[in-house]
């Protein structure tokens, strides 16, 4: 049985927010983490900086690189990141909603590849990117989480997803880490929720 995957998207303020989430994750997280942050093409040291926040190693994704539990792989600047067959796939297709990397592109590929085993997390941002992708993860039975807009540096992005009805749980940054740990310890949220 293939395990879960965690996909995280962030825009304005997303780097700092992701750093706090990473700080609350253990070194033995049982699932790979893939990330799309709207970042400047020049921000080539982002992975290194994020890696200092917690025990998980962070790197820019390479094309066709395999995912492994506990990896944190970022969409490189100016590339879309998609996931397929347990691997990273990069593309330089046009920006989507003015963004490359696009959070929707990542989330939608994760929704199709992992279905109810996908966990999508949308952090702070001044954009509406991510809502469509979260909706797709949710429709496929995955778990969707948005950062509480009240605590977000910029509430627009998580609020848009909540208003679109695409969010299962609204959480503060501290609680997101915990939720991820417990989700990654169970095989399938669909089953877990069905059992309740």
């Amino acid at each position: 049985m293939v395990g879960r995957v965690v996909a995280i998207g962030g825009s304005w303020g997303g780097g700092a927010a992701l750093g706090r989430v990473l700080a609350s994750l253990p070194g033995d997280l049982g699932a790979p983490v893939v990330v799309a942050l709207h970042r400047y093409p020049g921000a080539s040291r982002l992975a290194e900086q994020l890696g200092r926040h917690g025990p998980l190693a962070v790197a820019d994704a390479e094309d066709k690189q395999e995912l492994w539990p506990g990896c944190v792989l970022l969409a490189p600047p100016d590339y879309h990141l998609l996931v397929e067959g347990g691997m990273c796939v990069l593309s330089i297709d046009e920006p989507v909603r003015y963004s490359r990397p696009s959070i929707d592109v990542l989330f939608e590929s994760v929704a199709d590849a992992y279905r109810s085993r996908a966990v999508g997390v949308l952090l702070t941002g001044a954009s509406e990117d991510g809502s469509a992708g979260l909706a797709r993860i949710q429709a496929r039975g995955g778990l969707t989480i948005a950062q509480d807009p009240a605590s977000a540096e910029c509430p627009i992005m998580p609020r848009a997803a909540i208003e679109a009805g695409a969010v299962g749980r609204v959480l503060g940054l501290e609680e997101i880490g915990e939720a991820l740990v417990s989700a990654c310890a169970t095989e399938d949220v669909g089953v877990e929720e069905g059992a309740r």
Binding site: K64, L90, S91, I92, R115, R140, G190
Partner: protein, 281 residues
């Protein structure tokens, strides 16, 4: 579990439909997209489906097979030609520092720029080689699957609005002159100087189905194989290996690595970070 994915379609079924579509296109029209990476290809199919007002890949298959004009539209949509002059300037700095000195030892230099799109990468390389005093003894063979982009590449025009971005890239790429020396502007279009075209040959070549056509000292293929699945990448690496001189140089895109292919052992890194490799075996 999920109640049939609420309107999003079955992902496994869609993959089957894509396989059938690509098989049909290959058998009927001869274009072979079967080894491409599905996740990125799928998004472009979705776009075509929206434009054609179709809701499934199977419907698209039917239209494409019965309507040649639709096949043309699909081909255009599947072709991603995004490029820029001196894209990833650091790559060109590394090329100047690590590759140019090696090329100086050759009396004649053959370069293959595979997947050249509209030519921006090719002309960037021509400028670099000219500044290193190597261009006069170089021939660049620039190829792409798409003949429409090759026509534009041959013209050597770019929109004037791009000039300042390109000039910045050029400087970051270690340019030793002024970027404006390499083009002339007329009516909103910038045309690259004749000299940069003199030693360049543009030609159609399909990396999936065509063979090696020469032996090269340098092959650049950047941001093309990211659209291929792994088995196809391995095949194309085989083609490059066969087309490289014994100590030839291979340059890949910023986030592509020889490490993830079957050909890792045949190259040594010249600059790992900038994806420059040298054939050793």
């Amino acid at each position: 579990m999920a109640d049939r994915d609420r309107g999003y379609g079955e992902p496994e079924l869609e993959i089957l439909e894509i396989e059938l579509l690509l098989e049909g296109i290959h058998r009927h029209y001869g274009f072979d997209f079967r080894g491409y990476a599905y996740s990125s290809l799928k998004r472009r199919l979705w776009r075509v489906m929206a434009e054609e007002h179709l809701s499934t890949v199977s419907e698209l298959q039917s239209r494409v097979l019965h309507d040649e004009a639709c096949m043309e539209r699909l081909l255009r949509a599947l072709s991603i030609n995004v490029t820029a002059m001196f894209r990833d300037p650091d790559f060109f700095v590394a090329f100047r520092d690590k590759v140019a000195p090696l090329l100086r030892t050759y009396p004649f230099i053959r370069v293959w720029n595979a997947g050249c799109s509209t030519g921006e990468e090719t002309y960037s390389l021509a400028i670099l080689l000219a500044e290193e005093g190597l261009y006069e003894r170089t021939r660049i063979y620039a190829t792409d699957i798409n003949d429409a982009v090759l026509e534009r590449a041959e013209a050597g025009d770019f929109p004037v609005e791009k000039a300042s971005e390109y000039a910045q890239n050029y400087l970051k790429a270690g340019g030793s002159g002024a970027f404006s020396d390499y083009y002339a502007t007329r009516e909103g279009t910038a045309r690259l100087s004749r000299r940069l075209k003199d030693n360049v040959v543009f030609a159609q070549h399909n990396l999936v189905s065509d063979r090696s056509f020469n032996e090269f000292h340098v092959i650049l293929c950047r941001n093309v194989m990211i659209y291929f699945g792994r088995p196809l990448q391995d095949r194309v690496h085989g083609l490059f290996y066969d087309s490289l001189d014994r100590l030839g140089i291979l340059g890949l895109g910023q986030k592509e690595s020889i490490r993830l292919t079957r050909y890792e052992g045949y190259y040594e890194p010249l600059d790992v970070h900038h994806r420059l490799y040298r054939r050793i075996g």
